[in-house]
Subunit: 197 residues, 2 copies
């Protein structure tokens, strides 16, 4: 009986989804965002164009989900809480620096950072799913450090998290200097002086 059954449709969907997202990242990395088409992604993934359009409204949306998948795998948007705030922040900022310099991420992530300038809908997705969770998790970690008395209770956490992430994205987007884990550490060391009581 079991041999007569067709493949599990949920499994097949998941396989197609993974193939599409991998193809999107590969093509953007190889040829750039502008030259990557939905047709090419479909061909590389071995699915029909309509399969992509059934799940995603645009090329930007496919690349967005592809990057989101890569990001989640690496970081999971949670910040460790070992009791040593400085080390916990270094861990998360180093992971960000590694993401930004990962060749598999760089071109696609950068392309999206540009697309949001012209696409308000994508910009709000970006805030909600891409940057928001990382900023929120970091604020949660800082809030807990406020409760334990490790950092100043009056600190404006919205400004404090930008002191951590701002310098990394500044380098990366404006290409003023290379992003590195050493730089991430230096930023945390300095920002900790601002936050400490």
């Amino acid at each position: 009986m079991s041999e007569a059954r067709g493949p599990d449709p949920t499994r097949r969907s998941e396989r197609s989804r993974t193939a599409i997202l991998s193809a999107a990242i590969e093509l953007v990395t190889e040829s750039g965002y502008a030259k990557t088409s939905i047709e090419a992604i479909a061909a590389r993934a071995g699915v029909g164009k309509q399969t992509i359009y059934r799940w995603w409204p645009s090329k930007a949306a496919v690349v967005f989900d592809a990057v989101l998948d890569l990001t989640k795998g690496q970081q999971g948007f949670s910040v460790l809480e070992t009791g040593d705030l400085k080390e916990d922040l270094k861990q998360v900022l180093r992971a960000t620096a590694e993401e930004l310099t990962n060749p598999r991420m760089d071109v696609s992530f950068r392309a999206l950072a540009l697309e949001i300038q012209y696409d308000a809908n994508l910009a709000s997705h970006w805030r909600e799913k891409m940057l928001g969770p990382a900023l929120d998790a970091t604020k949660d970690r800082l809030r807990s450090a406020q409760h334990s008395g490790e950092i100043d209770a009056d600190l404006d956490l919205d400004v404090a998290v930008e002191l951590l992430y701002g310098p990394l994205y500044h380098r990366w987007l404006l290409q003023t200097a290379p992003v590195s884990v050493e730089h991430a550490d230096a930023v945390v060391d300095l920002a900790m002086r601002a936050m400490s009581r």
Copy 2:
């Protein structure tokens, strides 16, 4: 005799240059960067297309100079040295926030921030002429505060300036929250705590 003389060619060049740069900013602001052409800039400025090509190699180069002109007028890339470091930094960071939120600047400046991702030559011009002078002037001001003992002499100034500018550009480019002079002040207040001895 003087009535028989033609117009001063240097003056005429300067008038054309100003007209071209104004037309470039106006068109990019009205229609977006992608839809602005050299032809349209020439027509709006009342010059021939060849006049533009004689002075600039590309649309990006024209818009770059147009933005540079606007930036210089507002800020001049110098940081006040009144003896009160915190106020001097607030003054320069507020000016940056005002530039980034100036509707006449926003679209063109943002378009260039995107173009540099794909154009290594423009990226190096950007570093050298647009961001570099502001970062360097700010570092000079911090160096002088190190000498006067106002801030820590061991501070890595490359990291310190990013603690100031990074949060503003992070908000502006990644659209996580509005840029404002109040935000600029909050960033300086917090960064000063990191830098002070």
